[in-house]
């Protein structure tokens, strides 16, 4: 396993553990369970990541970030973008808007601005890259 892969695992595992713990605690909140506040969970995750990164960096061989590393990174961002935008769009169009459109809620312009803004950034970046030199 190379350094980049170890670093990715080090970022992923504490994140899943922290989010899993927090969500489980939230689901049990009604049953009288206790949970750390979100801030403490985040700090715990960050501490775990920092300690892991220090250990991994000290025992692993340093390697350059090459085109394959960057390509894997971009593909990760793409999957994350598609997942978030699909869930967000679905929630907005099929749940939020039908229930709240008649009342014109205050947060609606902000939600639409986020949606349109993200799409504008994606299309703008692609339009620039169509004319620029592209490399992984």
């Amino acid at each position: 396993m190379d350094l980049e892969e170890k670093v990715s695992w080090g970022a992923f595992v504490p994140w899943v553990l922290g989010c899993g713990y927090y969500l489980t605690a939230l689901l049990r909140w009604d049953e009288g369970g206790s949970h750390w506040p979100l801030g403490r969970v985040l700090i715990g995750m960050l501490l775990l990541q920092v300690v892991y990164m220090i250990v991994v960096a000290s025992v692993s061989r340093k390697e350059p970030r090459d085109e394959r590393t960057r390509l894997i990174e971009y593909k990760g961002y793409k999957v994350a973008y598609l997942t978030v935008m699909t869930v967000f769009s679905g929630w907005l169009l099929w749940w939020y808007l039908p229930q709240n459109l008649k009342e014109s809620p205050k947060e609606l312009p902000a939600l639409l601005a986020v949606w349109l803004g993200v799409e504008a950034i994606r299309m703008g970046t692609q339009l620039v890259l169509y004319r620029a030199s592209v490399r992984a």
Binding site: D2, E4, E5, E63, P64, D66, E67, R68, T69, R135, A136
Partner: protein, 77 residues
Amino acid sequence: MTKMVIANRIRRLRFDHGEMTQQELAVKIGATRQTIIAIEAGKYAPSLELAFRIADAFGVGVNDVFQREYNGAKMPE
């Protein structure tokens, strides 16, 4: 359309060049050892730039390192 597969002779060329290790080749071309492993296994097709760097590391042409194959058969000359 027939699927094109990029085959390579990197393992053979490494052997012919004093049993060069994957790590040595990686350092020579500025890539990671994982990338060399992926290219050798046919799991990653490098960019033209990286392909030239690999060829230069062995002192041969790109055609001597990479070959295109269509459904397992080499392209007819």
